[in-house]
């Protein structure tokens, strides 16, 4: 019918428009119709409302229905005109979703480029650091001491507790079968070998990777985003050296000490269980220790610590420096640094076992 009136009323601002949008899309007319738009009852019209009306006009034109806006209040007309001018139907916003094959390919190449990037980082780090290491008075010892405090001293309570509990668990689990053979006293040997050789260094590395490595990645990553790393470079400082070297030196000192501490706490935990559950007195336990500990067990454990420290620092600093652009990527770098540090620590531990076996330690 000619002269259909489309009457709009009420609040036409974005938060209220969900129903209106649906109803407008259901509207249709016959070709050749002339509709009149009436917005005199609209209390508020914002750009979302104006956009819906403009889109309605375009949709109706496709059905060869004309929508006359002659009678509109001038303010509404002006807004709709502005929106019509700026709108670009079908303008693409989206970041196209990637197909599964593309993503598989990308993540595969990323693994390769990450390995290459890591080697590149290690090389540059060594290049930046060597001049400092050759002139020890120029090393930033104050920062090194700070790192030892953060990574080492502050980790003592949590590491002590966990190592103690690990000792307790090993003593419980190992003590029962030994008791059946009346070989209670060998519990000391069991504890010494598992704690000193394997558990203490691993526990320490895992705690440090989670506590300290993640903090390194987050700190350096955030500095990348705020362009502090670039500022260092512009001032003529070498960021790898100034940021990563004190961390490396600090952890190289702190990790063996932490491992030693974990050794002690683990043995202590085992000793308590041995005394209360398996009738091995403290004095018997202590007297057995020198026989049970081959010096090699102890050193094998301690020697792993600096290697683990190097892995943790280099991986987490690498991921920190690889951060780009968004705060999201700081989160990703932190996660990756922890996961990959722990993964590589365990790989290194396996390699140690094989090598020590070959050289009969």
């Amino acid at each position: 019918m000619d002269g259909t009136r489309l009457v709009c009323r009420g609040d036409w601002s974005a938060p209220q428009l969900a129903m209106v949008e649906r109803r407008l899309q259901r509207l249709s007319g016959r070709a050749g119709d002339n509709w009149q738009l009436d917005t005199s009852g609209v209390s508020q019209l914002d750009s979302a409302g104006a956009f819906l009306l403009d889109r309605l006009k375009r949709d109706l034109e496709k059905q060869q229905v004309s929508l006359s806006m002659e009678a509109l209040p001038s303010r509404h007309r002006a807004l709709i005109d502005l929106i019509a001018e700026t709108a670009q139907p079908g303008a693409a916003v989206g970041t196209a979703r990637k197909g599964p094959l593309v993503r598989l390919g990308e993540s595969t190449t990323e693994i390769g480029s990450q390995a290459a990037g890591y080697l590149d980082f290690v090389g540059r780090f060594a290049l930046d650091s060597l001049p400092r290491l050759l002139t020890p008075h120029r090393i930033r010892w104050k920062q090194v001491v700070g790192e030892i405090e953060h990574a080492g001293v502050n980790a003592i309570p949590i590491l002590g507790l966990l190592a103690f509990l690990t000792g307790v668990v090993i003593a419980y689990q190992g003590g029962t079968p030994l008791e059946q053979y009346g070989a209670n006293i060998l519990l000391v040997d069991l504890l010494a070998i598992t704690m000193l050789r394997e558990m203490a260094p691993l526990m320490t590395a895992i705690i440090v990777a989670g506590r300290t490595g993640s903090a390194y990645a987050a700190q350096i990553g955030t500095m990348r985003i705020t362009e502090e790393v670039d500022a260092l470079r512009v001032i003529g400082l070498t960021p790898y050296e100034i940021l990563a070297l004190p961390k490396m030196l600090g952890l190289l000192v702190a990790m063996p000490l932490l491992t030693l501490f974990a050794d002690l706490m683990g043995m202590l935990g085992g000793m308590v269980v041995a005394n209360t559950m398996f009738g091995i007195g403290y004095d018997d336990f202590l007297r057995r220790i020198p026989e049970a500990i081959y010096p090699s067990s102890f050193w094998v454990g301690i020697i792993k610590a600096p290697v683990f420290a190097a892995i943790i620092v280099s991986i987490s600093c690498y991921h920190g420096f690889a951060v780009q652009g968004s705060t999201e990527s700081v989160g990703r770098a932190t996660t990756r640094s922890v996961v990959q540090s722990i993964f590589l620590v365990i790989v290194a531990d396996a390699i140690f076992s094989v090598v020590f076996n070959i050289v009969n330690l």
Binding site: A18, R55, A91
Partner: protein, 257 residues
């Protein structure tokens, strides 16, 4: 209702202490509907802090703030949501969400406050992006891939997302070249005309002050010492104002006028 019925925003007797220093004392400010008000003052005079109080991010130690005629000392979460729909803010450094594209940044407030279809929101976001003066290609880019001027415009687009009645801008033209800064001022004037905005902006830009503002509130001695059109303000005998406008940059400008 309290005080001046005509003010869209009214602050009365504000006092602010932060970390032991007194930043504002006995500060009064009113903003009329439809005007563009600039807040000026020396660096560190507390402009950003005042803005944070006006947008209800920071609670003043003492004093009241009325927005749209209602007291904002005690606002229920629901009422706060409504208020947020009516206020747009452009932060000093943009504060764009770095993990999202420009278009997603602009769509986020709309997604939160409306139930329109996604396709509609996308087209609306494109309109806002164009209105803010960005080329459409910028919509899909991440904030880290934008220049300083584009970041400002993207932040403006996000501030405009819900067609706020009241728009706050913190140093919108700082760091822009004179041409872009002038274009930005024109943009604001045009949007005020078309969308009926009220604008409160912090600025140091003499050209903006002369070109785009109706009144200028001058912050000194921890309070607003004058709130008047720029032509009158420059003639104000208050020593801090005279010192501010007697600087070499401001003087050149006045001679031109």
């Amino acid at each position: 209702m309290n005080g001046n019925q005509h003010a869209i925003l009214q602050a009365k007797g504000l006092e602010t202490r932060l970390g032991g220093n007194l930043i504002h004392q006995n500060l009064d400010l009113d903003v009329r509907p439809g005007e563009i008000l600039a807040i000026v003052g020396g660096s560190g005079s507390g402009k950003t802090v005042l803005l944070r109080e006006l947008i209800l991010l920071l609670r003043p130690t003492r004093g009241t703030i009325h927005l749209f005629g209602r007291d904002c000392s005690h606002v229920s979460p629901d009422a706060m949501r409504k208020l947020r729909e009516q206020i747009g803010v452009m932060f000093q450094h943009g504060a764009l969400f770095t993990g999202m594209s420009v278009a997603e940044n602009v769509m986020l407030p709309m997604q939160e406050h409306t139930r329109l279809r996604r396709s509609t929101l996308e087209e609306l976001a494109m309109i806002k992006i164009r209105l803010a003066g960005l080329p459409p290609e910028a919509a899909a880019r991440k904030p880290s891939e934008l220049s300083g001027g584009m970041v400002k415009r993207a932040a403006l687009a996000r501030a405009l997302a819900l067609d706020p009645e009241l728009l706050f801008l913190d140093e919108p033209t700082a760091g822009l070249d004179p041409v872009s800064a002038g274009a930005f001022d024109d943009r604001i004037l045009e949007l005020r005309e078309l969308l009926g905005l009220t604008v409160v902006m912090i600025t140091h830009d003499m050209d903006s002050l002369w070109r785009a503002t109706d009144r200028v509130a001058f912050l000194a001695d921890r309070r607003v010492v004058a709130n008047q059109p720029i032509a009158e303000l420059t003639a104000n005998p208050h020593p801090a104002i005279q010192a501010y406008f007697a600087g070499p940059r401001a003087r050149d400008r006045r001679i031109e006028q």
